[in-house]
């Protein structure tokens, strides 16, 4: 639930403190949307068999990595110079942890791009694209919702993302099972099916990272660390 007296981060006496926090916020979201774009492009490259696009994704991952370092640096500077407390402190700490998740999502996009390049050379895999498209759409939505929850301090949305992760896990299991069947039917499919399998695995991991982001959003807003706790506790914290 949103707390009263929310006010955002822009109402400090110190103008520069406002700007520092706003910049941290903006840079984090920029990185988030860049990572989302990377993921979209990687999946499109895979489905279209577009090696060129896949290569672009791999190159752009360096920019994502650089953003991670920049944001961490900003956060450290804010801690050193402003000694943030309470929700400002929680924002900074949450961002430090969340950029690590975003960076990993970027790595997963890179992995998918790699598989896309392999498949564009080997030729299309016979199966699994429907599942890839489906799960990719799902986890991208989760990623965007998690970022949205961060931007709006919307913990209810964050909680929904966490619940979606369970659904993605199921979808992933079903997809791998059907791919296994295809591999057993025709051993010539194994190599290409394995590539698709890695892609599915990467997408499933993205769902996990979106879930982590949501946990940090809830920590940031509510001040309660709900990692490694049952969903019911997270629900109680958010409903409070």
């Amino acid at each position: 639930m949103k707390k009263e007296n929310e006010g955002g981060y822009g109402d400090h006496i110190s103008h520069e403190f406002n700007e520092d926090l706003a910049a941290l916020n903006a840079d984090f979201l920029k990185m988030g949307y860049m990572v989302g774009e990377q993921l979209t492009n990687a999946v499109t490259a895979l489905i279209d068999g577009d090696g060129f696009k896949a290569d672009e994704v791999r190159a752009k991952d360096k920019i994502v990595d650089k953003l991670e370092l920049e944001i961490d640096d900003e956060a450290v500077r804010i801690i050193a110079r402003r000694q943030p407390a309470a929700r400002d402190l929680r924002l900074v700490i949450a961002v430090i942890k969340m950029v690590a998740d975003l960076e990993r999502v970027g790595d997963e996009a890179k992995k998918i791009a790699k598989s896309a390049m392999a498949l564009s050379e080997e030729g299309h895999a016979p199966h699994g694209y429907v599942e890839v498209r489906h799960i990719a759409t799902h986890v991208l939505e989760m990623l965007h919702d998690a970022l949205d929850a961060f931007a709006r301090l919307d913990t209810e949305k964050a909680l929904r993302v966490m619940k979606e992760d369970k659904v993605v896990d199921e979808e992933y299991k079903t997809a791998t099972r059907s791919l296994l069947t295809f591999m057993m039917e025709d051993t010539r499919n194994i190599s290409r099916c394995m590539s698709v399998m890695w892609v599915l695995r990467a997408l499933e991991r993205v769902g996990d990272h979106a879930c982590n982001l949501s946990e940090h959003v809830i920590f940031m807003v509510e001040g309660e660390d709900i990692r490694h706790t049952p969903m019911e506790i997270a629900e109680k914290v958010v409903e409070r």
Partner: protein, 304 residues
């Protein structure tokens, strides 16, 4: 500076006694100015954990008036044994006024009246038969500016024990002086110059001398009113280190404008606002997830 209030004959003492009065006047003005702000505070309602078990001080429904103005509004609070508690809040919020109630320093202000109950070890300190001299020996005080007597280092520390008759022999007094200076972390710096004048020391040393002087009479509680605001960061760190060591033997109540200092030294933090005690909680909680919006605004620098 627990003992100096008892000696109205002494010159230093007289100037000290007038100091709170001046402060009180300025505080009164600020309260009026900030009254215009609307704040969602329920009177007498303190969020968090104002009460503890086995309390040293029990304060119930305390109100302090300067003439017609109510500087402290229905405050109830327990202060635990061997606890370090810090009082924070914007200027004029009443935290110093409240601190000065704890050893009746406000007695010297004519227009100041106090309502409610302040119990030290279950004794009402405002009881008409209460001996204020004895109270102030039990509840020492350290002020914002180091204010050693213009005497030798030795005499500064020996002053209280002499008045209160704590030492019969010279050697006993020597022991008290040494022990107090050791506890205040000043012994090594002062042992070779015990008989040189105290005002020749640096500000940080003078403040630690004042702490040594306060603890020389073996108080149970030490009140500190912004003890580090006139000190440099190194001297501040020394005093803070001292506070954590002293908390093993004393209850320490510290008023500070430095929120980082409150965060560093205290077990619990109390936030005052316009004479209300808004929130009392574990320091860890106050600086990570404060319960009251006003506390959060203050500690994150959002006030106005």
């Amino acid at each position: 500076m627990s003992m100096n209030m008892n000696m109205s004959m002494n010159e230093t003492i007289v100037s000290e006694a007038t100091q709170p009065q001046e402060k009180a006047m300025t505080e009164k003005v600020v309260v009026e100015e900030t009254n215009a702000q609307s704040a969602p505070i329920e009177e007498g309602k303190t969020v968090g954990k104002p009460f503890v078990e086995n309390a040293k001080y029990k304060l119930r429904n305390v109100e302090v008036f300067y003439g017609q103005d109510r500087a402290i509004k229905d405050v109830s609070l327990d202060i635990g044994r061997n606890e370090v508690i810090s009082f924070i809040g914007p200027s004029g919020c009443g935290k110093s006024t409240f601190l000065r109630c704890l050893n009746r320093m406000n007695d010297s202000i004519d227009i100041c009246r106090i309502k409610g109950q302040i119990m030290l070890d279950d004794e009402d300190i405002y009881h008409s038969k209460k001996d204020v001299v004895e109270l102030r020996a039990r509840v020492g005080m350290v002020f914002q500016k180091p204010n050693p007597f213009p005497k030798s280092i030795y005499d500064n520390v020996a002053y209280g024990p002499r008045i209160h008759g704590l030492a019969n022999r010279k050697s006993d007094l020597d022991d008290i002086v040494e022990e107090s200076l050791r506890k205040a972390g000043l012994w090594n710096e002062a042992k070779d110059r015990l008989h040189s004048v105290a005002t020749g020391m640096s500000g940080g040393q003078q403040q630690r001398l004042c702490i040594a002087r306060a603890i020389a009479v073996s108080p149970e509680v030490v009140l500190m009113d912004e003890p580090c605001s006139a000190l440099d960061p190194i001297a501040t760190a020394r005093v803070e280190e001292l506070i954590s060591e002293l908390s093993e033997s004393y209850t320490i109540i510290i008023v500070t404008h430095s929120m980082q200092q409150a965060a560093r030294v205290s077990n619990r933090t109390a936030y005052f606002h316009l004479g209300h005690l808004v929130e009392v909680n574990e320091t860890n909680k106050v600086f990570t997830t404060p319960e009251h919006g006003l506390t959060e605004s203050y500690i994150t620098g959002r006030f106005g």
